[in-house]
Subunit: 359 residues, 2 copies
């Protein structure tokens, strides 16, 4: 205060009164601990980090007592600055309102936490500009790794990949071939769906998909179409549809509505995500078509709620729970300097046959 008084008046102050770092309850720093234990901060640091052979048992005991008494915990920020790397891992998700992505993010959080990391979660809303902004922000945070949970292609992303930043791609592959990846075998899954329908004798099929910019979408579609074609069934162009909206639910609804305007409905409808399938289901209901009896709807992801709310929906289950550890391992591979790997998690086709009215 006295320093401000010197000027004699408040008019001249051109910055906000923020002045010095905020008070907040003082927390113990390594210096406090060192003083209390009567050693140097170097020794405290070594003991905290378990560097052996550098302190006598008595010293270790002294220091640990001081730590306990003061409730000391190293300030990550100091460490990060010195090491030029924090214990933070960033997860950039394309769309957190998608239950599947949210579930994968949650799984990643657990796995990262157990390994001592902290997750920063960002929603890029599938926008290239936001994604780039986030990438820069994350670099400024000195994050230890970046997990792209469904990346969109963007100039900044290319730069980061080029610069060999530690990036792991999940579900959608990264640019170029030298990127690490965790996901499912979308193409294989697509062809399994085709096989399943054919086994049921369903040959009149249609597909509804979201943006083909996503490698996952493109691969699912390719797998399905190729498997169908190899059995002699080629889908008419108007049987492979999408809609000009970004929300998958609305894609399902709108695309199915317009699909039904083209003559007789298909007997099998492959929706490239569960959300699309929900939308499709609604459109089918509107049209008085029951699923799965009249139109067999197949989704992708297998939202856990399907067991409770969508007993009519056959879906490709992706193993959310396993994503967390796979992501962690993927990051560790990157950190170890090993060449990039592609890890494919096992999926399963969950077949549900219950009618819309299950009584």
């Amino acid at each position: 205060m006295s320093k401000i008084e010197r000027h004699g008046g408040g008019m001249m102050r051109d910055r906000k009164a923020k002045a010095e770092p905020r008070a907040r309850s003082k927390i113990a720093s390594i210096t406090t601990v060192a003083e209390r234990a009567g050693v140097s901060i170097a020794t405290v640091s070594r003991i905290v980090n378990g560097i052996a052979k550098k302190a006598s048992p008595e010293t270790v005991a002294k220091v640990q007592r001081a730590i306990a008494e003061l409730g000391y915990r190293p300030v990550s920020v100091g460490r990060a600055l010195r090491l030029r790397e924090s214990r933070i891992v960033a997860v950039l998700a394309a769309n957190l309102s998608n239950p599947t992505m949210a579930a994968i993010a949650a799984s990643a959080e657990s796995a990262l936490r157990q390994a001592g990391y902290v997750m920063v979660l960002c929603d890029t809303h599938d926008r290239a500009d936001l994604q780039d902004e986030y990438l820069l922000e994350m670099r400024a945070l000195l994050v230890r790794g970046i997990v792209m949970l469904a990346a969109v292609s963007s100039p900044g992303l290319d730069d980061f990949v080029q610069a060999k930043e530690p990036i792991l791609f999940v579900n959608r592959r990264g640019p170029g071939s030298r990127t690490s990846f965790v996901g499912v075998d979308n193409k294989q899954a697509g062809s399994e769906v085709a096989a399943h329908l054919l086994k049921l004798g369903v040959t009149q099929t249609a597909v509804i998909h979201g943006s083909l910019g996503s490698s996952a979408t493109a691969e699912r579609l390719a797998g399905f179409l190729e498997a169908m074609a190899s059995e002699g069934h080629r889908l008419a162009p108007h049987h492979v549809r999408t809609a000009e909206v970004s929300d998958h639910l609305m894609i399902g609804l709108n695309a199915t509505r317009s699909l039904l305007e083209f003559g007789s409905p298909p007997h099998g409808l492959f929706c490239l995500s569960d959300l699309i399938a929900y939308g499709a289901h609604k459109a089918l209901q509107e049209a008085g078509l029951s699923s799965p009896e009249e139109v067999r709807v197949i989704g992708f992801d297998d939202n856990p709620l399907n067991n409770w709310l969508a007993p009519w929906l056959t879906s490709v289950k992706v193993p959310y729970r396993e994503y967390g550890t796979a992501i962690l391992e993927g990051l560790e591979t990157i950190w170890s300097g090993a060449p990039p790997r592609h890890v494919l998690l096992r999926h399963h086709l969950i077949v549900r046959m219950a009618g819309a009215n299950p009584e």
Copy 2:
């Protein structure tokens, strides 16, 4: 390398070969910018932070050019260390597999991001020990604020509240009365549900709830029971149920199953979360009971998927989307030093009447 060679062999190394901070592509620091622009780092800092009246227009131009050329962005960690406070806001959620919490977290992320903050998201799994561990970790990160998205009571939490750490409680109230809160008026909502049922002539009702440790649960229940009682309807003890599991879906399933063992089913079933309602619905189906015709099921939260998958479920809609800005405002209130406030967001009862078989 040469330093290691000195020892002549690998046996003696007692630390991992990590040695010095990792290489990574060198990113520009404030020093680089200062040198390039031919000014001091103090000047660069002032210009970056928009401190007026301290640099001539030409200097500003020079510096900004240097910044652009180098692609400089301040390293948050350095700033955080100096200010003893980062731009990170931590969100500690009780259960990220709950779609409602995930949605609120996603909403918070957007709002925080727009205000220039970065969200760290943690899943406490409703465990006191994990929550405490996270709290300490977040303090070590020098986070600017902590959002407790459904807190569990824990010793560490009490400490933090005592220490006046900037904590905002969401959905579940914090310990003591001097804590900031954002949520809905659970009690009022509970009584509205009662009123709704009574208006429909439904007086035989039951309630299924999760842990009563949650203030939200307790308030919803109290609101409902009191409103019922005030109209002369008291629920039998076995009509207010829970189940000894943590998963809300299973609570709904198990509690409803055992409820149905007690004579005639209620005509109205208030489930204190949508997930509980989904479980209840399944149990009702098993028993051959249709909803809403025979048993009117009412949920809470109104999962966005209800419109698509649960046309039989009337539910209290909480405004997810509004949580983000409310949370941001709540934090800003705390930071401004104003006394704690309780903000109640508007809820709505969404009435759905469609039968289980909507054709």
